[in-house]
Assembly symmetry: D2
Homo-oligomer: 90 residues x 4
């Protein structure tokens, strides 16, 4: 079973928290709060999202590469990681 299914509950809890943080940012913009405050709110969202992304990729490597049942599974997992990582090197 894929890690995103096994960890479904935990991931959904984290996305919900992230949605809440994004909502707080939205409202701060809506209410014309001080721009330093709004940047701090978005910066928190960024930290939360990057953390979630990192954990998902790590789980993906662990599940589909480190614990792969076949060489083929690991190979496909590797190609997927290459694609996902492309945007991180710049």
């Amino acid at each position: 079973m894929a890690h995103t299914i096994r960890e479904k509950k935990k991931i959904l809890a984290r996305v919900n928290r992230l949605k809440g943080q994004l909502e707080a940012f939205s409202q701060a913009i809506e209410q014309e709060k001080d721009c330093y405050q709004v940047m701090q709110l978005l910066s928190s969202c960024r930290g939360a999202l990057n953390g979630l992304m990192g954990d998902l990729v790590e789980d993906h490597i662990r599940e589909h590469i480190v614990k792969a049942e076949t060489k083929k599974e690991a190979s496909t997992g590797g190609e997927e990681v290459i694609e996902i990582m492309r945007s991180f090197w710049k």
Copy 2:
């Protein structure tokens, strides 16, 4: 007037799009979609959020430093940028 007030409409439009992308990710997790697909969805969210963050900081520098009305305003703006940027250097 602060850039986050003047650009209010545009910023809200971008956050709403980002909320939509995050919702798509949420649903993909909920529906137990393939984990490569879910990572791609989160990767798009990450790109959108980083882009928005970058534009906000850039607008902040432009408004409160480049076009500051007083040396004091620029000075405060500079201190805020230092705080916001701290998490970006690692």
Copy 3:
């Protein structure tokens, strides 16, 4: 044969170029050049180093995971990628 051996010449050429860029930065500091100029020089080094890092990790995944000869090799490769990637998610 490991990718860092097969690609030895190419990698060394890139590191040498990077050393040259770092030397230019060093000299700009030594000669007390304008600080915007020195930041630009270091920013180029950063781009070059990140690009090289990205290519090395990609080659590593391709060679030791995608084209792994055994499940064991892919598994070890995966663990190594997890370790290397840790510092990238923050």
Copy 4:
């Protein structure tokens, strides 16, 4: 006096350390060391360079914006920070 002049000695010491780390990476490639080892060496270089870059930009903001002697100096400093930061948001 510009921060890159006042801090000249410290910056040169850090670049020299970084050059040493890059040399270690070079030699590891030359000696055909294990590719995980070489990636770790380059990863250390990346951390050191990012740290130095962050400190330079922070000093730049502090010196030419926070402590600017004129509105004009802060304004120019702000434009420079915008240019330098462009590559960091992706």
